[in-house]
Amino acid sequence: MNGSHRYERWSGRLGGKRWVWPAIVRVGVRLASKSASTRLILLASTGFVVASCAIFYILSILEALGSRPEFNELYGIVQVLLGVDLRGLVQMGEHREALWRMVFMIMLKGQLACALIVIAQVGPGLIANDLRSRALPIYFSKPITPLSYLLGKWAIVAAFIGTVTLLPNLASLMLGTLMTGGLGSWGQTLGLAWDLVVLDVGIMIVGGVVILTLSAASADRRYVTVGWLAVCLLPMVAQGVLDDALPSKSTQAFLGSVSPYRDVTVLADWLFDMEAAYEGMSLPPGAAESALSHSLDPVYPAVVLAAVTLLAAVLCYRRVMRMSRAAATL
């Protein structure tokens, strides 16, 4: 026991509430990063950077030397990767942005799977562990508001979602730009970067809020993980059943927006304006339709995702509010 310290009351300025949620994020990220499987997923996400840069590189070769017969095989590779045959495309350089958007759309599908896994790894324990270890009394005996607590917890999962989506996307864009001489203008690069940020932040908000709501519902993270997988996978199965059972017109509205996976891809199509991208390239008839995720009006997926997120946010906030006010009795 050290008795040499004389107690001195803190006389400096307290950081106040603004320091609270970053503290929660730091600790949460550090703890979650200790899991080997989480690290593996994060490592795997660098594969997206490698893959997209490789495609950008192939596209740049085709732009420059595509007319030579020896590069014909590369068109085949691109067709496999992007789902479109670019052999007939003249002045490919003018369509570079549209082609890059296609690349990011392809990457998105893999990134969504990665995000699903990383959320399942990191998210379930965020609030559930605090409930299990009865840590809420100590949180809420500090000058912390339920909103700061929630913001801190959301930012933890958002940081991991961002690491498998936004970070690789921006890194790919940057490396691709450096490697191939860019998109032609800063406006194009920034426009694409902005779309990627909007899309990935959207994924962070939806995924983060839903997993937090589930995590606040149980002290056992196993139930939360099962709940998360059910929320993600069951609607996909249901969507498949609906698509098969109902006439195609019925699945053009809300019945076509049951699956969150499809909703995100439809919204990404809309955000990246993929329809215009395909049209601009004057590809053979039917090529765009087959490449686009779904011919669904983006309003329906947007409404569904917004409604789910809003409902989850309200439920989660109410739950955390109640927990903060009765932390001592939980």
Binding site: A23, V27, A326, A328
Partner: protein, 310 residues
């Protein structure tokens, strides 16, 4: 100035009463909050740290309402009774993290955590994960997190529980030093002598009510004249009983075990003197003399029977 003021404060958990219409002021220095398990100590402390909303009445801490008021919480250091750890965290990270939650930023949180850890004698173990800590070490690290933000008021819920005698002595000394440096401390315990070693200023709580308030010696004075029971473990309790039966102050004698005699008396000091003489002059072999009902439960029973002090 009162550090904590309770005015008609009640807290119900459904139909269970946690705290029942309590009006009391807690002054500066160290105040012991003593009471048996389930008396309402933790409820009072949780109300004082803004974790519970009063069902009725008001509570003000450091002159301000505490419910939904983060600014007052930054001046309170709270050590909860139960274990509230993230087991994989090290002690140092745990204290730093909670210092940050209290509003200290970056370097200030780090140095405050380090000092608090040293004060509680945990410097040697601070970089080990909490899951490997003993009960006593866990108590110390909890106290460190309460100290780290350097609060004006410390609210410590059973901080000595689970500590060994040496640790208890060290923590008692620490609390004494903190009080000498101007920190107000409200400390709860269900063991009277634990708190008695720290302070004479007591709040005694039982069944959700304050049954006695003030200095412990005043409480003891009020206890004079009530029947006491003294337990004596001796080789020949029958002979001892025969000697004591002649004393007027002895109101009852019971042999509960072959070597144990329970003496009921209204003047315990006289009995203790007499026992000393019997041991010295009559060569009686006595292994143990103890107050059979000196525990808090007995005191509360007595106080709640209608003789409560104001």
């Amino acid at each position: 100035m009162a550090v904590i003021e309770l005015d008609g404060l009640s807290k119900w958990y459904g139909e269970v009463i946690g705290l029942n219409n309590v009006t009391v002021s807690v002054g500066g220095g160290i105040t012991g909050l003593v009471g048996p398990n389930g008396a309402g100590k933790s409820t009072l402390m949780k109300l004082a740290t803004g974790q519970l909303h009063p069902s009725a009445g008001t509570i003000r801490v450091l002159g301000r309402r505490v419910w939904d008021n983060p600014s007052v919480l930054s001046q309170i250091g709270y050590c909860p009774e139960g274990d509230v750890f993230w087991p994989e965290m090290t002690g140092r990270r745990f204290v730093q993290f909670l210092a940050r939650l209290s509003g200290l930023a970056g370097a200030a949180a780090r140095s405050a955590a380090r000092e608090a850890i040293e004060q509680t004698g945990m410097a040697e173990h601070m970089d080990r994960p909490i899951r490997g800590y003993s009960k006593g070490m866990r108590q110390r690290i909890k106290i460190a997190q309460a100290l780290a933000p350097r609060p004006k008021l410390l609210i410590l819920d059973e901080p000595l529980a689970g500590t060994d005698p040496v640790g208890r002595h060290e923590l008692t000394e620490l609390f004494g030093r903190l009080a000498a440096d101007g920190v107000d401390i409200l400390i709860s315990s269900h063991i009277l002598h634990e708190v008695e070693a720290l302070t004479q200023q007591m709040l005694m709580i039982a069944h959700g009510r304050i049954v006695a308030e003030g200095e412990l010696r005043t409480v003891r004075r009020h206890m004079q004249g009530r029947p006491h029971a003294i337990r004596v473990v001796a080789d020949d309790p029958r002979r001892l009983a025969a000697e004591l039966s002649q004393m007027a102050s002895v109101t009852g004698l019971r042999i509960t075990e072959p070597d144990t005699l329970i003496i009921e008396t209204t003047l315990p000091e006289q009995i203790y003197d007499c026992l000393g003489e019997l041991i010295l002059h009559d060569q009686m072999k006595v292994q143990e003399i103890a107050a059979a009902d000196a525990g808090l439960e007995a005191v509360y029973d007595y106080l709640t029977r209608g003789s409560a002090l104001g």
